[in-house]
Symmetry: D2
Subunit: 359 residues, 4 copies
C-alpha cells in the first residue's frame, strides 16, 4: 500500500534509484505457459533507452534486463517474475550542488520535507530512471494480453505536440521511423526545431502524447471507482512529469453539446457500430469495444542550463543552474512509458473481467 | 477489489442504484472521538441535491441521510460508519423505451455487453445518483482532516467554464452565492445563458470545474504509483461524465518551457516561499505545501431531448429521444462531488503519511 | 484497509454494532444473472439466529435481511449487493455496570485503550452480532460457487467437541437434526449435558468445530502468501472467540513422521487418487482436489453469571458478574459462521483462479 | 493481489525459486532515517541458514544478502528496499525423477494441476528457500518497531515439541545456545534423539513452535477482519509446512470453561494488571498489552528416504524415494521464520495504528 506497485491481478512492484546499484521489479499475475525470454523485454526497453538520439540524455545506460525468476525452460511458470537492471552509468559526478540546493520544479523539495533524507544523486527514487521498469512490466502485460485475446490488438503511443507545434495526423506506421515517436513524418522537422531551439536557449519544452489502444473487448473496467478511465488516469498521471490526462475528446468535451458529443450507433453487417468516438472508447467506466484514446500532457524538463532562483537545504535564497545530461523534452522518452502503463492497465482489467465473466 | 470502494485507510464502499430501495455506503478509517451528527453530512448533501435551481434535474430527492453505525453518544467510535439514503422519488416512470434501446454516450451499451443484465431504470448503478454517497463520504473526510490538522485548510471547487464561456476570476466567497457554484459573479449570467440556450435547443452543455485545496502539509502522496496527483486523477476521473483531469498548468504546461514552468523559490520571513505555482502544489507526486490546484472536464449531459441514432437491445437501428428530468449541465452538480473526492484523497493520504511520519 | 472487509474479488464489507439501529454489508464480486431473493439469504441466517434452542441466547432477533441493491427482476446485476438487518431487540437494558467495568476475556478493555470511546451496549462492534453478516455473505458465496462449478460441492461444519466431550463420528446428514449442529446423534446428549452443567454452574464451555468442504477443484490458493490455508486461517481466526485453527491433521501432524503424514497416491479408474488425507486437502497452499478439512477452537463464552475480578474504567479493582441472555457455548452458533467464512474464502479463490486459468 | 506479498503498510513482496539465479524481495513501508546496513539483515539470515548443524540440510548456501536500494549513506531513505540473495548452490543434481513423479505431501501435484508447468528443481517456488526472504523482511520489521517504540520489546520463538517429546520450560536465554532453538536445555537431548532416530529410520518428524512477543502496546489490530490474531494466523499459516496456529490457550481453550479462561484483572502500582494470560495477549482482535503468545504445528518434512507410493506425471502408479539433502525436522529452521513473520505483522499493525491514533 505504500505506493511502489501498480495493478490488482496483473501487478508489478518496483524498487531502485537513479544512482543505486540496480533497479528492479516483481511482476505478478502472468499466467504459466507463456514463452518468455529476456529479449522480449529488452526490445521494449531499448525504445526507452537514453542516448538513442540527440534529443535524449546522453547518459550511457544499456538497460540490460535480467530475468531472475518465474521462467523455466523458456516458459513462464505462473510464479512472480523478478527483473533486474543494473545501473551501469552511475558515474562519479559532482552532486555537491544539488545536495545543497533544491532544483525548482523537481521532487527535491517535497522529498526533503517528507523524508528528511534523500538520495540526491540524479533524483534518486523520483528519477525517470524508474520508468524503465514500467516499460519492462508493460512488455509482460502485452504478453498476457496476447495470451488471452484471440484477435489482433494494438497499443500505440505517439508524440503529437511539442511546445506549441502540433499535428492531427496519425500514421501509426511512422512512429518508429523517427526519434521523436511522432506519427506524422511531416511534423518531425517542426518538432525537432522546437526542441533544438529550446536547448540552444538553455531551456526545455513540454509535449503531448496520444495513446491509442484498439482491438479490446467491451466491458473492461470495474464501476464505479475502478473504472477503466479512472485507472488509466492514475496510471498515466503517475508517470514522471505528466500534468494532465484526458480520454476521448477530453477537455474539448467541455465546450461541446450533448448532441455533438453523442457517439450515435447503428447496425451494420458487422453488428452494432458507432458513428463517432468522442468518448475515446470508454462509457460509464467500461470499454465499449471502440478504440481507447487518451492523451497526456508532459511538462518541460525541469532541469535547464539556465540560472533559477531557489533555496538551499538550510533555507537561504540562492541560484541553481543545472549542468549535465538532460533530455530537452522528456515527453519523447515518456512515449514508450505511456504505452507500457496503458498495457498494464488493460492486462489487469482483462484478468479482472475474466474472474467473473467469459471474455 | 471489484471497484466499489475508494481509499486505503480512509476508505468508503458504496452500493445502490438510481431506482432501487436505497443507496448507502460504509466509511472506514474515521478515528474515534470526533463529534458527528447526521446534519454534518446532510449540509454537504444539500449542496448536491437535485432541484435546487432550474439548472438541475427536478427529480425530487431530499437525500436524507441516516447514520446507522459508528457513532455513539454523538461521537465517532472508530468503527465503520454505515450511511443510508432512501430513494424517495423512484417514480413509476415508463422505462420501456430505454429498456429496449441504448442511449448514446450513456453507460447503457457497455453495461449490457458486460453484464447481460442491467437495471435500466434511470441508469441503475451508472447513474450520477451514486455521487450523493461521495459527497457524504467527503463530509466525513473533512471531519478527519479537521481532527488532525491544527491550522485552517480549505477545499473549494467552482465552475469556471460552461460550453465556451469561461472565467479566470476566482472569488471563493462567491461560489455559494449562485446556483452554478461559479466563483465569478460577473460570469454567472453568461454561464446561465449558455445553459438556457442549450436547453431551449433540446441540447446540453459541458463544463470545466476547478478545485483548490489550501492549507495542507507537504509530503502527502506515496511515490511512485500512489502519487497524490495520480490518486487525485483517479478520484476525479471516476466521477460520472468526467473526461479529463489536469493538475496545475496541466495541458498548458505542454506548451511552456522549463524556465517558464519552473516554480522558483526564495526565502522569506515565513520561510521558503514559491514565486509561482505552475505545479499546482504537487511535485514528484508529493504535495509541496502550496495550494493544490486541479481542473476537470465534464462532458455535456448525454440525455438530450433530441432524436439520436442508436440501436435496440436486439441490434436494430433505431432512434431515441430522451424525455424526463435531466440536468442540462451535469457539470453544476459535479462541483460538490469534485470537492468531496478531493477531500477523500487528502484525508486518506494524511492518514497514510501519519502512519510513518509525524505530521 | 481498516479491517471491515474480507476478500479480494468476492469481497464483503460490514458495518454495525450490537445495539445500533441496524447492521449491514456490501457484497462485491457476485456476477450478474444469478437468481437471488431475500429468502436465499434468510434461510442461512435462520440457522445462526439466536433463540433457536435453550442452548443459545434468548435475545429475540428475527434477523430479517433486506436486499437494498444489486438485484433487478430477481437476478443479480453484477453491481454491489447491499444488505441490511435492523436490530429489533436492542432493549433498554441497564448497561451502567458494563459501561464502568471491563468484562474479563471480552474486547472491552483493549477497545477502551485503543479507541477511548466505546459503544458498551452488548459489546458494540465486537459483538458476535456482526457474524450475522458473515452468514449472509456466505449465502452469496455459495451462490457464486454454484454459478461456476459444474459438479456438486458441499461445505459443512459441525460441532465435534464441547468441553472435554468429543466425537469422531461425522454423519453430515445428522447436523441439522439437532440444535448443536453435531454430526453424531449419539454425542448430542453428552454435549448437551456439558452445556447444561456449565450453565447450572453459572459457567460456560468451549468447543471445537470441524469444517469439511468437498467437490472443489485443485489449484485454489495463491502462493506464497495468499495460500488457501493461510486465507482460511485468517477467515476462521477472525470469527469471534476463535483461538485456534488447524488444517488436516493440524497439531497432530507435529507428533507424526514423514512417512505417516505422507498422503500417498495411486492411479484408479477415476484417475489419480490419494490413499489418505492428512493434508486436509491443501498442499503448498493449493487445494489438491481432496476434501478440505479444517478445525477451529472456540473459547468458552466470556460472559458468565459468576463474579470475576476486574477493574473499572478509572482503574480501580472491582468485581463484575454478567447478567443477561448469553450463549452458554458460543461454539454452537459459530458453526454456521465457520461454514460461511469457508464459503467466502472458496468463492474468492475460485474467482481469483478464473482470472488466470480455465477452471 | 496474486499472493506474493504480505502486509498493508509495512509490506514485502518476494520472488524467486529454489534453483533459479536468485531470490529477492521489495520491502515497502520502512520510514526514512533508520540506520541500516547489510549486516543487520545478514545476522538474521544466518540463524535460518542451512548447514548450521547436523539437524538441517547440508545444502551450502551462505545466503549473502545485498541491499540494492532504499539506503543512502547508511540510512534508509523512505523508498522501497530491494534485497537480493543469489542462489549459490543450485548444483546440477539429477532432477529427472522428481520431474516425472509427484512427491507425496509436497506441493508438486497441485502446482502441476494448476500451472501445468513447474520448476521441479528443489521445489521451485514452493521450496522453503523462499522463507529466507521472510527472515530478511523480519529484520527490517524489527528495525521499524525499534524506530517507533520507546520501550524495550522482544519477539522470540522456540521449539517446544518434536514428535511426541515436549517441554513446558521457557528459558528464552537458552534458545540461541542450541542448534534446535529450544528454550529448555534439558529437553535438547530428548529432541535430538527423536530427530536422529527419525533420520536413522529414513523418516522425519514434526514439531511445535511457540512465539512470544512482549512489550507491545495495546490496540494493535483492526477489527473485525484484520484482527491481530487473524493476521498472525494468516502470516504463520503461510509458512511452509505449517498446519495449525493457535493463540494463547488455543485448542486447550475448547476444553476449559468461561471462569477458567477469564483473564481476571486488578489494579496495581503499575496500573491495571492481568492475573493470567489465557488469551495470549489478544482480545477482540486487539492486543491487550500482555505478551502475545502463539503456537504453530509444523508437519514432518515430506521428503523422506523411504519408498512412497505415488503417480507419475502421466498418471501411472509408481514409487518414489527421495534422495538428497533434506532437513529431518523442518520445524527447526521454521523457528526464525515464525519470529520474522510475527515481527512483520506487528510492524504493519503498529504503522496502521499510528495512522489514526497516537501510540
Amino acid at each position: 500500500m505504500t505506493g511502489n506497485g501498480f495493478g490488482e491481478i496483473f501487478r508489478f512492484t518496483t524498487f531502485g534509484e537513479s544512482h543505486g546499484a540496480a533497479i528492479g521489479c516483481v511482476v505478478e499475475g502472468v499466467p504459466a505457459n507463456i514463452p518468455l525470454q529476456e529479449n522480449d523485454i529488452q526490445t521494449a526497453l531499448d525504445r526507452r533507452r537514453p542516448g538513442r538520439s540527440r534529443f535524449t540524455t546522453q547518459r550511457n545506460e544499456k538497460d540490460a534486463v535480467q530475468i531472475l525468476s518465474g521462467v523455466f525452460n523458456g516458459m513462464t511458470t505462473g510464479t512472480p517474475i523478478g527483473l533486474l537492471i543494473e545501473n551501469a552509468d552511475h558515474r562519479s559526478a559532482d552532486y555537491s550542488e544539488i545536495a545543497q540546493k533544491f532544483r525548482p520544479a523537481h521532487a527535491d523539495y517535497p522529498y526533503f520535507l517528507k523524508y528528511g533524507n534523500r538520495d540526491y544523486r540524479g533524483g534518486g527514487r523520483s528519477s525517470a530512471r524508474e520508468t524503465a521498469l514500467r516499460v519492462a512490466a508493460g512488455a509482460l502485460a502485452v504478453k498476457v494480453l496476447r495470451h488471452f485475446l484471440n484477435s489482433p490488438f494494438d497499443i500505440t503511443a505517439g508524440l503529437i505536440q511539442v511546445g506549441s507545434e502540433k499535428t492531427d495526423v496519425w500514421n501509426a506506421a511512422e512512429i518508429n521511423n523517427n526519434a521523436l515517436f511522432c506519427p506524422d513524418s511531416d511534423a518531425v522537422s517542426r518538432f525537432e526545431k522546437v526542441i533544438d531551439d529550446a536547448r540552444a536557449a538553455n531551456d526545455s519544452v513540454g509535449a503531448i502524447i496520444e495513446i491509442r489502444a484498439a482491438g479490446f473487448p467491451a466491458g473492461l473496467g470495474e464501476p464505479v471507482y475502478d473504472r477503466l478511465d479512472a485507472d488509466l488516469a492514475k496510471a498515466l498521471m503517475s508517470i514522471n512529469a505528466v500534468k494532465g490526462v484526458e480520454i476521448g475528446d477530453g477537455f474539448a468535451a467541455a465546450r461541446s453539446t450533448g448532441r455533438q458529443n453523442a457517439d450515435e450507433m447503428t447496425e451494420s453487417a458487422n453488428g452494432t457500430v458507432f458513428l463517432s468516438n468522442h468518448a475515446g472508447g470508454i462509457l460509464g467506466g467500461l470499454s465499449t469495444g471502440q478504440p481507447i484514446i487518451a492523451r497526456i500532457a508532459v511538462k518541460p524538463t525541469p532541469s535547464v542550463a539556465s540560472p533559477l532562483k531557489t533555496v538551499s537545504a538550510d533555507g537561504r535564497a540562492t541560484v541553481i543552474q543545472t549542468t549535465g545530461r538532460h533530455d530537452p523534452c522528456v515527453g519523447i522518452r515518456a512515449v514508450p512509458v505511456a504505452e507500457a502503463m496503458t498495457a498494464c492497465v488493460l492486462a489487469d482489467h482483462l484478468l479482472r473481467l475474466r474472474a467473473q465473466y467469459t471474455v
